[in-house]
């Protein structure tokens, strides 16, 4: 058994040198771990195999000897038992073909051999009732036997045993087999470790090559998915992150373009007015009027910048830190009150259906501004006599705020782009506005992990803000 144990740890011995250097690399660490687990399981397998075969045979032999022993001892028991009967039984058994391999020796009190197939008392057998495995000479042939001696009543001694040459052969075969298996396991363990390490390295290399390409500016690259569950999870997370980065980059690009294009118009207008006044203003009043209108234009530009900054601030997510548990019911009634007067002034009908409670974890001011933007839009695009609906309710854990008008609406093709900064639908070209209102509403909704959806109100626009409700 000792030999097998040594086989099992052979792989362990090979791993010892340079262990520290090995574990510095994650790939090697995994490989070593794999080999270690492989070696341990092999050892366990070998040990259990050894016990279940050799152990079983050994126990069977011991049982057989024991029962033989009991039967013979019983014959020697007084009052009717005597040595001669035992000797006779032994003689019968030695001759019986069923008992080939059985070993007996009976000596009387004086140490003289009475019966049995052993030539002499085996050397080394000194204690009674103890198991011995000794070389013996049996009918002239040398062999190995498992033996047990016992003192019979009257001072005679009896040895009962079994020839275990066959068992020893089995033992040798099994040992050799296990040595070979152990060797194979070491080879397999090392090969497996190398394979695992190279797989690991390949997966990491894919990620690092792609990441490096992305870092160099190729944002269209994505990590491969389908390598393995854990790596897929990582790849999906990284890909999501890249998607977001690329969306932000697009946003920045688009906004810079839009700023360049859309702000040029009001700047040009203000500049023209001022230059015109400087050159042609006939009176002080003309000059004053021109300057005032230029100031208005500039204020409009400032307003655009403020809205842009506001959106950027919201999208950066820093305002989440100020989130609190709020109920929007009163907030929305206040908005209704604020805008109802304006709607009536313009001959519009504002219809509000606000169902309490509307619990949300968020920023009241931002929600106010989002709803105000939607109401501003609705008022802007409604003609006298039309109805504007403001409704809010809690449904399936979502607070839904709807602002619906009966104006021109947004064409289905434009609806997806309507929340982009500076986007202005064809129908809105001739109205005042910066094209930032819905972008801000959308940013507010997203900050609250919610959505802004635009639907056709047949006719008109139906804007729906969905905010997850606070539990």
């Amino acid at each position: 058994m000792k030999e097998t144990a040594a086989d099992g740890t052979a792989a362990g011995k090979a791993r010892k040198p340079g262990y520290r250097r090995l574990v510095r690399s994650a790939g090697r660490r995994f490989a070593v771990l794999y080999a270690l687990m492989f070696g341990i399981s092999t050892c366990l397998l070998a040990v259990s195999l050894w016990y279940s075969t050799i152990g079983l045979v050994q126990r069977q032999v011991e049982n057989a000897i024991h029962s033989d022993d009991l039967a013979l001892t019983a014959l020697a028991q007084p009052p009717d038992g005597n040595l001669a009967e035992v000797a006779e039984a032994i003689a019968t058994r030695v001759l019986s073909p069923a008992d080939v391999g059985s070993i007996y020796l009976l000596v009387d009190g004086a140490g003289k051999r009475v019966a049995g197939n052993l030539d002499s008392w085996p050397r080394g057998l000194t204690e009674m009732n103890v198991w011995y495995q000794l070389p013996v000479s049996r009918d002239g042939t040398e062999s190995v036997a498992l033996l047990r001696a016992e003192t019979l009543p009257g001072g005679a001694k009896l040895i009962v045993g079994r020839d275990v040459r066959v068992r020893a052969q089995l033992w040798r075969v099994l040992r050799n087999g296990l040595i070979w298996t152990g060797f194979l396991m070491v080879v397999l363990g090392v090969v497996g470790a190398i394979v695992i390490r190279s797989i690991f390295r390949r997966m990491v290399r894919d990620i690092s090559i792609t990441s490096r390409a992305i870092a160099k500016g190729d944002l269209s690259r994505r990590l491969p998915v389908g390598v393995g569950e854990e790596f897929d999870e990582l790849a999906v997370i990284i890909n999501d992150m890249l998607d977001r980065i690329s969306r932000l980059m697009d946003g920045v690009r688009q906004v810079s373009n839009a700023i360049a294009h859309d702000l040029r118009t009001p700047v040009t207008r203000a500049r023209t007015r001022l230059e015109d006044a400087a050159l042609h203003a006939g009176s002080k009043e003309d000059m004053q009027a021109a300057i005032e209108r230029a100031i208005q234009d500039l204020d409009g530009i400032v307003g655009v910048f403020e809205a842009l900054l506001r959106i950027a601030e919201i999208e950066a997510g820093s305002r989440r830190a100020a989130f609190a548990s709020i109920d929007l019911t009163q907030t929305l009634w206040d908005m209704d009150e604020l805008y109802r007067a304006v709607a009536e002034e313009r001959g519009l009908h504002l219809r509000a259906i606000i169902n309490a409670p509307l619990p949300v974890f968020g920023d009241r001011e931002l929600v106010q501004q989002a709803v105000a933007n939607l109401l501003d839009n609705a008022l802007k695009f409604s003609a006298p006599g039309m109805t504007i609906d403001l409704s809010a309710r809690l449904e399936d854990g979502v607070v839904q705020i709807v602002v619906a008008d009966r104006g021109p609406g947004i064409a289905p093709a434009d609806r997806n782009r309507a929340t982009e900064r500076f986007f202005r639908a064809e129908a809105a070209r001739n109205t005042a506005g910066s094209g930032l209102g819905l972008a801000l509403v959308s940013a507010v909704a997203q900050l609250h992990n919610g959505t802004l959806q635009l639907f056709d109100n047949n006719p008109g626009l139906r804007a729906v803000i969905c905010l997850p409700s606070r539990e």
Binding site: D299, G303, L338, V342, G433, G437
Partner: protein
């Protein structure tokens, strides 16, 4: 009123100082934080207009914190290019009384500064407000003009209360949005004008002398005499 302007930008400072003097105020100016702090701590002012970002090692926030630490309660209006909500909240939390983002209209600045100094004087509990023959009882929440009782909606009452507390001063639309509705953004729609005109219908329409005046390019003012 004595007003201290701490502002490093020459153009902005010159413009503000000139405007405030034209409005009849005495103005001191400092162009860095250290001088500003020295002036603010050594002399008495009715209000301080303070830029957030200042040269000289002491920025606006530090300056004000130092003042407040010395139990100086002079009203402070922050003037800043840092317009994000966080910046505003930070400025107000540190002890500022109002916050105005650059660029600004001078009318807005003037109205706010005058409102600030007024706020300081109105510390005692008031139960009645009156402008001309318009009277407001804050306890019974009733309004009457002359002999006639005027019925107001709760929001109209608060709007009128705000105007009466700032009687004789220009009140801008933004101030009304913040003070009456607690909204800190500018709606695209002229919501305030509509509400003010509704209030005007109730308090001015049936009477000979108008009290609620529109100040062009600035806002509104409630006063008994003609503007």
């Amino acid at each position: 009123m004595r007003i201290l302007v701490v502002e490093d930008d020459k153009d902005v400072a010159g413009f503000v100082v000139k405007g405030l003097r034209e409005a009849g105020h005495t103005v001191e100016h400092a162009d860095n934080g250290r001088d500003g702090l020295f002036l603010a701590a050594s002399e008495n002012f009715d209000a301080i207009i303070l830029d957030r970002m200042l040269p000289g090692g002491i920025d606006g926030l530090r300056l004000m914190e130092t003042l407040r630490a010395q139990d100086n309660t002079t009203p402070v209006l922050f003037l800043s290019a840092l317009g994000q909500v966080d910046d505003r909240v930070k400025g107000l939390k540190a002890g500022g009384d109002d916050y105005l983002t650059k660029p600004f209209a001078f009318a807005e600045l003037l109205a706010r500064v005058e409102a600030l100094t007024r706020r300081g004087k109105m510390d005692g509990p008031m139960t009645r407000l009156s402008v001309g023959d318009l009277e407001m009882d804050l306890l019974s929440r009733s309004v009457r003009r002359g002999e006639q009782k005027i019925e107001l909606q709760p929001r109209e009452f608060r709007l009128l209360e705000y105007l009466m507390r700032h009687a004789g001063q220009v009140v801008t639309r933004t101030m009304l949005l913040e003070g009456v509705w607690d909204y800190h953004f500018d709606p695209q729609t002229n919501v305030i004008d509509v509400h003010v005109s509704r209030l005007r219908q109730k308090i001015d329409k049936p009477f000979e002398l108008p009290l609620l005046h529109t100040v062009r390019n600035a806002g509104y003012m409630l006063r008994a005499e003609e503007v």
